[in-house]
Homo-oligomer: 153 residues x 2
């Protein structure tokens, strides 16, 4: 895995986040990559408002989509790129799906569930801990969220 | 809320759990009740295997269904009855949905995320903490799970 690849994959997640903002959703975007082929399997943005669904975070939607495409609830050969540190709900779902690696952009001290708060992967009851890499294109990912909330006020 | 009502509502969740077992799914069942009317809005059982979806726990499915019926991602007037202590993913989703009260059956030291493990509602970053009542029809709920896993071996 080259540094350039990580940046390019996060650019795709950022594109999904920007599309989410245009739809009035909190701008978080995510893609799932098959590490054996390097191909993007699925990509999603946040859709909690459009779908009236509190569980419709980008990560839940992309896991559902990738699992449907692969025909299995487990994706041990896949990596996930997301613009914001996942919340506890999404971190748990990512663990259940056996995702190999998580690359995230901005850290989220208020809502994050990996480095902050519930720290989902730090408990002995967590059966699968993906490798975690934070801060990929951090400034761009954070700015997108900051600008979105500034415009909302 | 009378003690009898709680037992009757949990009987409905148990019926969903039994149906899940018949489909080969881990037997967890859940209902959502509108506390203002006492009516059951939605009821679901686990469907992770059938749907190839690691997020298709009964609680996620019932929240999605109840929110769709109500046309809102937030259900502050609703209570949730579930046969097993929710996992961290489901506990977080229940918090996001602003559910008023959780009544659960069996405690889950291995996978639970309320009284065990990540203890989702115990962090300052958790914005909404439902009232939690555990151990409703505990023996029946636990036996259903024990029998299911015994048959699997």
């Amino acid at each position: 895995m080259k540094h350039d690849d990580q940046n390019n994959y996060m650019a795709q997640a950022l594109a999904e986040a920007k599309n989410a903002a245009k739809r009035g959703e909190i701008p978080v975007g995510v893609i799932i990559v098959d590490s054996t082929t390097g191909k993007i399997i699925a990509s999603k943005g946040n859709a909690t408002e459009a779908e009236n669904d509190p569980s419709a975070h980008a990560e839940i939607l992309v896991l559902r989509s990738a699992c449907a495409i692969k025909g299995t609830p487990r994706l041990p050969e896949c990596d996930l790129y997301v613009t914001l540190e996942p919340c506890p709900m999404c971190a748990s779902a990512i663990s259940f799906a056996r995702i190999r690696r998580i690359y995230f952009g901005a850290y989220d001290p208020k809502g994050g569930g990996i480095e902050h708060g519930a720290k989902i992967f730090s408990h002995t009851t967590c059966h699968h801990r993906p490798e975690v890499y934070g801060g990929i294109r951090e400034q761009e990912c954070a700015k997108l969220l900051k600008d979105f909330f500034k415009d909302k006020r």
